[in-house]
């Protein structure tokens, strides 16, 4: 605590105003009232400090004391983060529910409770990688700890320190105990970092590889780069959460930070229940071991919702700095923007578009800009990335609203979820003509999967586009006007949509589709197009083509076991060629 306590003069929901906090700086944390509620100074105005309070403010009075902690909102960083569930200001949620030894004895969140984010009593086996006498700089690897069965947690020199290692204490230690001494200054395994400040790196890298997700419409049509940014706008029930959860499950990342920002409690329960049971597609370990959940649901305090995005981002950057690929999922950034709006409204600030504060676009930009592939501090060729996927919940599913528009301008990929597709249960409801990717990573696929990957991708996009144009013709004039070759566009367009783009997140086999299988499936569909087009040109009736029995097998390609994709597709290829020739 620093300085004399201030006193509240105004209370309006999550925003309170205090006077007499003479030494408080902007963004300092304060303690408010008898329950010592946690708040943050968000504006200084003469003698007045405007504070957003991260807990319910019921019961506060004019005159209640406010103490300045002298420090900004920080998160604790160190081993023990993985597998945890925190609220928006990094309080671990499971311990909050414990009462009298019963794990769920206190299922409702009480106010004023303080629990440290990292378990203090847990021991970690510190294995040093430096020796006494080494000269180290910010980011130098000091040692490692096995945080989970598969992830090596790397303990680094904090960003503002350098010097000579004067002592090392290897072996088991709790997070707060010193393990390395730099010029006799003790360093433990735990760090703190102010959440609103991006962590430093040695430089950005150009994204050149995709984040592989196992989702066909994503990997094949609209891939996101490792270290890239994506926005998923969609009306309610169009599949944002299912998409984010599928990514959390299947994406090829080392660490997943999932931020449930102003959304449903039950959706987090879903993750909590399933992830410990599922296995990490890359390491085979429990999926929860690579996951960190930030859960600030819609009914939890809005100010903490605002902070949750930064809490999650700082944790993501921390693992990035260790050289890992981190995927940060935020569901939903609209709720975060609304928290900004609510607080701004209570401050009686000049509103911008739709009541959002004028600084909304800059805040959004700051958030998306913290994504990226980077060279880490400390040398050793360490590279890491934070890929960001932000869901957006536009009112009335109208994409012209500010959050969607600003996000679209900032993000490199736009997965537009379409209400109409969702209603007809076309999932993922990512619309193929409204979505886009700005990452030019086709070369990676050509090099790593198949030489003609990018070519086939273009073909598919073009055909879908063409089908859409023809749809509008048919809507006006009926199917009679279509030439035989155009009827094939319809047939194959439908095949692409139903048999390739649709992918159930709940199907045991199809929920994840390897790049090889994606390629084979697309190859078969384009083969159908090529062969039948030739046949039709040679006079075969398109109706006969549509009646081909072999086409039913195209629809069932999704059920192919992943390791049999190549073999099955060769077999299907032969049959298609034969059957079409027989027409």
């Amino acid at each position: 605590m620093s300085g004399a306590p201030g006193r509240l003069v105004r209370i309006a929901g999550p925003v309170v105003v205090a006077t007499g906090l003479d030494e408080a700086r902007l963004y300092n944390l304060v303690r408010v009232g008898r329950d010592r509620l946690i708040g943050e100074v968000i504006r200084l105005d003469g003698d007045e400090a405007v504070i957003q309070v991260y807990e319910e403010t019921s019961g506060l009075q004019v005159g209640s004391a406010v103490e300045d902690t002298g420090a900004p909102l920080q998160v604790e960083l160190g081993p023990g983060l993985l597998g945890q569930v925190f609220d928006g200001i990094q309080r671990p949620l499971p311990p909050l529910a414990v009462k009298n030894g019963e794990p769920f004895g206190e299922p409702f969140i009480r106010r004023g409770v303080q629990i440290s984010a990292l378990p203090r009593d847990r021991l970690w086996d510190f294995v040093p990688t430096v020796t006494v006498g080494d000269i180290v700089e910010p980011g130098t690897l000091l040692g490692t700890v096995k945080e989970t069965a598969t992830l090596e947690h790397r303990i680094l020199v904090p960003s503002r320190m350098r010097g000579t290692v004067t002592r090392i204490q290897a072996g088991e230690a709790p997070v707060e105990q010193p393990v390395v001494w730099l010029d006799d200054r003790p360093l433990s395994m735990m760090r703190r970092w102010p959440v609103r400040e991006p962590r430093p790196t040695a430089g950005r890298l150009d994204p050149d590889a995709p984040l592989i997700t196992g989702q066909r419409v994503i990997d094949t049509l609209f891939p996101v780069a490792l270290g890239g940014t994506t926005t998923i706008p969609g009306g309610f029930g169009t599949g944002k959460t299912v998409q984010e959860q599928s990514l959390a499950r299947w994406a090829a990342a080392d660490v997943i930070v999932y931020i449930g920002c102003g959304e449903r409690g039950n959706e987090l329960t879903d993750v909590l229940r399933e992830f410990p049971e599922l296995s990490d597609p890359r390491t085979g370990g429990p999926l929860m071991d690579r996951t960190i959940l930030i859960a600030n649901t819609s009914n939890m305090p809005v100010a903490a919702r605002e902070a949750s995005i930064y809490t999650g981002m700082t944790i993501a950057e921390y693992y990035r700095d260790q050289g890992y690929d981190v995927l940060l999922l935020a569901d939903s950034t609209s709720r975060w923007a609304e928290a900004l709006r609510e607080v701004s409204g209570r401050l009686e600030e000049m509103p911008g578009e739709e009541g959002f504060p004028a600084y909304l676009p800059s805040r959004l930009a700051e958030f998306y800009e913290r994504a990226g592939a980077v060279r880490c501090l400390g040398g050793g060729g360490r590279e890491g990335s934070v890929t960001v996927v932000g869901a957006v919940s536009p009112p009335g599913a109208d994409f012209s609203e500010p959050v969607t528009q600003y996000s679209m301008r900032l993000a490199g990929v736009f997965w537009a979820l379409d209400t109409d597709l969702a209603r007809r249960r076309h999932f993922p409801a990512i619309h193929w003509t409204r979505s886009f990717t700005l990452y030019d990573i086709g070369a990676w696929f050509d090099h790593n999967v198949a030489m003609d990957w990018e070519e086939r991708r273009r073909w598919a996009l073009e055909l879908l586009h063409r089908e859409e144009q023809l749809q509008s013709v048919v809507q006006l004039m009926g199917a009679d006007v279509l030439a035989p070759s155009e009827q094939l566009v319809f047939l194959v367009g439908r095949m692409l949509r139903e048999d390739f783009l649709q992918q159930s997140a709940f199907d045991d086999v199809d929920a994840f589709c390897s790049l090889e299988k994606q390629y084979e499936m697309l190859r078969i569909i384009s083969l159908v197009y090529e062969t039948t087009r030739r046949a039709v040109r040679d006079g075969v009736d398109p109706e006969a083509v549509m009646a081909l029995a072999v086409l039913a097998d195209v629809a069932r390609m999704r059920d192919w076991p992943p390791d049999e994709a190549a073999e099955r597709s060769r077999e299907l290829e032969t049959r298609i060629i034969e059957d079409v020739e027989a027409l």
Binding site: T57, Q61, N266, G345, G396
Partner: protein
């Protein structure tokens, strides 16, 4: 509603009265959010709540409205505590007003505890995932948009559409429970609905024999509008007590949330806040979430709260902020359609925009039937196709349709008339699924893309129906 604390401080310093708000000057010791009593010049006592405190000024919302209040003689007593409700099992079978006072002529209940009506946020880590199927007897729900215990599912209705009947039907059936399932107790909260609607519901429940297992909180159309902000919270406080203290399964029916949102807007306007979309306050999402998120289950606790929320879509517009924000919070929605209602389909549920997000957790081999998901997906696919074709046919005529299209078109009609329509009669899940299969029987295995071939084969073998390919051959010869 009850307040336990002693009333210590009283002020007679009303500065002005505006809409539902009273602005008080020269106060001290006022707690944000506390409940207060406003004594009208005639001595009548009304309840209110502190919305804002700014130095020596306080803004108070008066639940019973401000009519008759003045600057000179009106007094305000501080309660020193948040609004609380006396709760107890004695609530079952009783009727209360919108603030929680007994309103059936009976004595006040014997409270076992006093709970804050605002409620506390449930710790997401303490939630149990809802996964127990509730049979509602309605095919469009059980078959395609399955409801589970602990879910919050709204009915998006429109003026004159039979949402009340649907919810009463579900409540009546759910309170009885299936053979091996415990039934629900029902907490019914009326928010600005008419006497006629409220007594319809009461009679329906009475006829089903469940009145003794029902608690009613009534804020009717002619009751004070601002009290509506309290009523759902009072009802949910009662529900939380019954569910998590007494281990009961509680079905909460809130009707009509549109009236609630209007009251919210009224207060916001009186406070001169910057309005959000269509004049509703920017915090309406958060406010609604503080109600809807009170549904759920808790780990290691027996009871559950399931919410069935009715709201009328102004102008039948699903993008209006009230249904829109609701849909963003609830776990799906049941959408009623004026067009189906006009066609005489009862209940007029349009399944395409309807959704139950917890369906997958509540169905399948060990819960309903192994083919449930596949059958539902297939019905959706055909119906969506049929509906598209209807639009197309309106433009280009039926003659241009292929054989397959004609079948899809016929399916859509069949589906509405036979599957969705049930005219008040209940169906078991088994009946619902069998009905679904009978609609699918006319399609070939290749047509049924959403169903695994083995499922179809097993089914058609089991029923001694030859595979349709063969049927076609027979016809041809």
């Amino acid at each position: 509603m009850t307040s336990r604390a002693l009333r210590v401080i009283e002020f007679q310093t009303v500065e002005y009265v505006s809409g539902p708000l009273v602005f008080l000057e020269g106060v001290h010791g006022v707690q944000y959010d506390e409940t207060v009593e406003i004594v009208a010049p005639g001595g009548e006592v009304r309840r209110g709540q502190v919305l804002e405190v700014d130095r020596s000024r306080a803004v108070i919302e008066v639940f019973a409205g401000t009519r008759g209040l003045d600057v000179a003689a009106t007094r305000v007593r501080l309660g020193g505590d948040a609004a609380r409700l006396g709760v107890g099992v004695g609530m079952l079978g009783r009727m209360f007003d919108g603030s929680g006072n007994a309103a059936d002529g009976g004595p006040p209940i014997l409270p076992e505890a006093f709970w804050e009506v605002a409620g506390l946020a449930m710790n997401p880590a303490a939630r149990e995932h809802p996964a127990e199927f509730i049979e509602t007897g309605v095919s469009a729900i059980d078959g395609l948009n399955t409801l589970v215990r602990g879910q919050k599912l709204p009915i998006f209705s429109g003026f004159g559409l039979p949402a009340a009947q649907l919810s009463a039907q579900v409540a009546a059936r759910a309170s009885v429970g299936g053979s091996d399932r415990e039934g629900f107790v029902v907490v019914f909260a009326a928010l600005g609905i008419t006497h006629r609607e409220a007594s319809f519901f009461r009679r329906f429940i009475e006829d089903s024999g469940a009145l003794g297992r029902t608690v009613m909180f009534l804020n009717l159309a002619d009751d004070p509008t601002i009290e509506r902000l309290l009523t759902p919270r009072v009802a949910l406080t009662a529900a939380e007590f019954l569910a998590f203290e007494k281990g009961l399964h509680v079905l909460v029916i809130l009707t009509d949330m549109t009236n609630y949102c209007e009251a919210l807007r009224e207060v916001s306007t009186a406070r001169e806040e910057i309005p959000g979309r269509r004049g509703y306050p920017g915090y309406m999402y958060t406010d609604l979430a503080s109600i809807y998120e009170r549904a759920g289950r808790i780990r290691d606790h027996d009871g559950s709260i399931t919410q069935l929320v009715i709201l009328s879509m102004p102008d039948d517009d699903i993008t209006h902020p009230i249904p829109d924000l609701t849909g963003y919070i609830t776990e799906g929605q049941i959408v009623l359609s004026r067009e189906l209602h006009r066609k005489g389909i009862d209940p007029p549920i349009d399944v395409l925009p309807s959704l139950s997000r917890l369906m997958n957790a509540g169905i399948g081999a060990d819960k309903t039937r192994f083919d449930h998901r596949q059958v539902a997906d297939q019905l959706y696919a055909f119906y969506a196709e049929g509906r598209d074709l209807r639009r197309l046919v309106a433009i280009i005529g039926e003659a241009a349709l292929s054989e397959h299209d004609r079948r899809s078109l016929a399916f859509a009609d069949d589906f509405e008339r036979r599957f969705i329509h049930q005219g008040g009669a209940g169906r078991s899940l088994e009946e619902t699924l069998e009905l679904a299969w009978s609609l699918l029987d006319q399609f070939t295995t290749a047509d049924l893309k959403r169903i695994h071939p083995e499922t179809i084969a097993a089914r058609r073998r089991g029923k001694d129906v030859p595979p349709p390919d063969q049927q076609a051959d027979d016809d041809g010869s």
